[in-house]
């Protein structure tokens, strides 16, 4: 008993075991900030998903490369046009689709690798664990951007699938450490010991008992991971080694206007704001989820 006030925190009525996902959703819906974040992110995701229906123009079309290029925002082109006379709003909408898709897919790759690596290290323990952790330390100490730049420069002309893979391959280090910690903690937890005593197989223990307990850190890591990838992809595309033309991603729209930032300010501003809002909402949601899970435990 430390703070006296704690004694009087409401003793929540013991709920039937709630799934982590349901708990997360409930928490998100409760706070105003995360509800707002959900709405904003929802709009961006929806815009991306329905891009072909919503976008006013073909994002790659160059309707008139002389008369319609470099137009500032107007009613016809709310976000202006780019040096190729393409509609920036349409490109930002399609960019949402691509940037988020890359973010989600790369994060899925990271999650798979991270969970596998962390679970193996934690479960195996001993020398294997120590060795795997040292290797992980090394990975963690390479700045991700530099590593990606090294890779992308060595492998020129990457398809988007390869870009996703590389982004995913460089994003699992942090998560695998968390997973390992959880696995280590759970390995010695009573219910696992009980399951083992009852003769459950290793694999069964892993699937039935460990994984469900990993859901919370994974959900949090995934949310924040997508945010990170969105920023990274934008950075790489801005450097011209990310998404190739004429596909639109938020980063390469900015790149298209990068050498005339002052004159074509709308080309930096709008996609940039979309990045910021996406990342911001993902961060808000990730933190709401983390709070939810931490408070529970």
């Amino acid at each position: 008993m430390s703070g006296q006030t704690r004694d009087f925190a409401p003793i929540s009525s013991p709920r039937p075991r709630e799934s982590p996902l349901a708990l997360g959703v409930r928490r998100i819906l409760r706070a105003r900030s995360s509800r707002a974040a959900l709405v904003v992110l929802g709009i961006i995701v929806l815009a991306g998903a329905l891009a072909p229906l919503i976008a006013p123009y073909d994002p790659a079309a160059q309707p008139d490369i002389v008369a319609l290029k470099d137009l500032p925002p107007s009613l016809a082109h709310p976000f202006g046009t780019d040096p190729y006379s393409r509609d920036v709003l349409s490109r930002v909408i399609y960019g949402a689709r691509l940037s988020l898709l890359i973010g989600v897919l790369a994060t899925l790759v990271s999650l798979t690798l991270g969970v596998a690596y962390g679970a193996i290290a934690g479960y195996a323990g001993g020398l294997v664990d120590a060795l795997m952790m040292r290797v992980l330390d090394a990975f963690l100490s390479i700045p991700r951007l530099l590593l990606l730049i090294g890779v992308l420069v060595a492998w020129p002309r990457l398809s988007i699938a390869a870009l996703v893979l590389f982004l995913g391959f460089t994003g699992w280090f942090g998560l695998s450490r968390i997973v390992r910690g959880q696995v280590l903690a759970l390995k010695h937890a009573e219910f696992i010991t009980a399951a083992r005593a009852l003769g459950a197989s290793r694999r069964r223990i892993l699937w039935r008992h460990l994984l469900p307990n990993l859901v919370s850190p994974i959900v949090v890591a995934a949310t924040l991971g997508v945010a990170h990838v969105v920023v990274l992809e934008a950075g790489l595309s801005y450097l011209g080694i990310g998404v190739p033309q004429p596909q639109a991603s938020w980063g390469n729209i900015i790149q298209d206007g990068a050498d005339q930032v002052a004159a074509l300010w709308w080309m930096s501003l709008f996609p940039g704001l979309f990045i910021v809002f996406t990342v911001m909402t993902l961060n808000i949601l990730g933190e709401a989820l983390r709070d939810a899970y931490e408070r529970r435990s």
């Binding site: 290797v135 090394a138 100490s141 930096s268 808000i284």
Partner: protein
């Protein structure tokens, strides 16, 4: 203490070795020989080619190349940068102080600013000020490094031309200035990139510090401090901050990669002649030894940064200091 340090340095060496292996693999697994661009380039002199061959043993089998490469690295040789026509370590040694200067200012600045923001927030926790500052922190936290740098450049060199467009000094006049003017010139060029990096890094600190302070506030010793009749402000500044600074110190180590990444874009956008710019240029010229050297040096910096943070932690926490 010394043994701990020795062990950490040992670990660091292992880490660097692994990084070196990864980067080596990276180059040699890449489709096409990344060195071919150099070796076949008519503009590259025979001497450089000979140096490269000797350095990397390019005509030898791969395992031997690897051994040779690691051996060179162990002796502090990172190869020959053909775009600069100098040893990689010499190029990086010239660029490093500029990057370190930028990072050091941003480190100090962002921690100062971040802690200040957190203190204001916690002193008024729950108020509109707190929420507003949280929102602003989150906004800057979510901003891509390059985007903020572009905006800063646009705003303060173009719209309101307060600062020079880039570089570390006035290229034309610097050599002809007196000492005082030179210092002013340097600071004037340093201001915007350093400020941008500070603003990029500060939100992380503020958010972390705010959480750490809020973690500390329910502690019994804070109640004790209140009991003594200290004002909330004194409590926050003296008792809470000192304790909440401990987790922040580990953030110093963790923030190195982020600072390095930030410095990378900022150096590119502000033409700041540091490591980041050297690497961007090396990417352009496919100066592989320099890119790899930069990646390895970056990892070394990150590793040393985390050791430094550990040492700081031990220094700051009396409970650890004794052991």
């Amino acid at each position: 203490m010394l043994r701990y340090l020795a062990r950490r340095l040992g670990q660091a060496a292992v880490i660097v070795a692994i990084v070196a292996t990864i980067t080596f693999a990276l180059i040699h697994l890449a489709p096409g020989d990344p060195f071919s661009a150099v070796m076949d380039n008519p503009n590259v002199s025979e001497r450089v080619r000979a140096t490269l061959r000797a350095q990397y043993g390019l005509d030898r089998p791969l395992p031997e190349q690897f051994v040779r490469y690691v051996n060179q690295l162990a002796h502090g040789e990172m190869g020959w940068s053909f775009s600069h026509d100098r040893p990689v370590q010499a190029v990086l040694a010239t660029a490093l102080p500029n990057t370190l200067l930028l990072m050091a200012i941003a480190l100090v600045g962002s921690f100062g600013l971040g802690i200040l923001i957190a203190l204001i927030q916690v002193a008024r926790r729950g108020s509109t000020t707190d929420h507003t500052l949280s929102a602003i922190s989150l906004f800057f936290f979510s901003m891509p490094d390059f985007w903020l740098a572009i905006l800063a450049l646009l705003a303060f060199t173009y719209w309101v031309p307060l600062f020079p467009v880039g570089g570390a000094v006035d290229p034309v006049m610097h050599e002809y200035m007196g000492l005082g003017a030179r210092i002013v010139d340097r600071l004037w060029h340093l201001a915007l990139p350093a400020l941008t990096l500070t603003v990029l890094a500060a939100p992380t600190v503020a958010r972390f510090q705010r959480a750490a302070l809020l973690d500390v506030l329910p502690a019994d010793y804070i109640r004790t401090a209140r009991l003594k009749g200290l004002t909330e402000r004194e409590i926050l500044r003296r008792h809470a901050l000192r304790n909440a600074l401990l987790p922040i110190i580990s953030l110093v180590g963790l923030s190195f990669p982020a600072l390095l990444t930030g410095a990378f874009f900022i150096e590119k956008i502000f033409a700041w002649p540091g490591m980041g710019l050297a690497i961007v240029n090396a990417i352009g010229t496919r100066d592989y030894p320099l890119v790899v050297g930069g990646v390895i040096l970056g990892s070394i910096m990150v590793t040393l940064g985390s050791i430094l943070a550990d040492l700081l932690y031990v220094w700051a926490d009396p409970r650890l200091r004794a052991n």
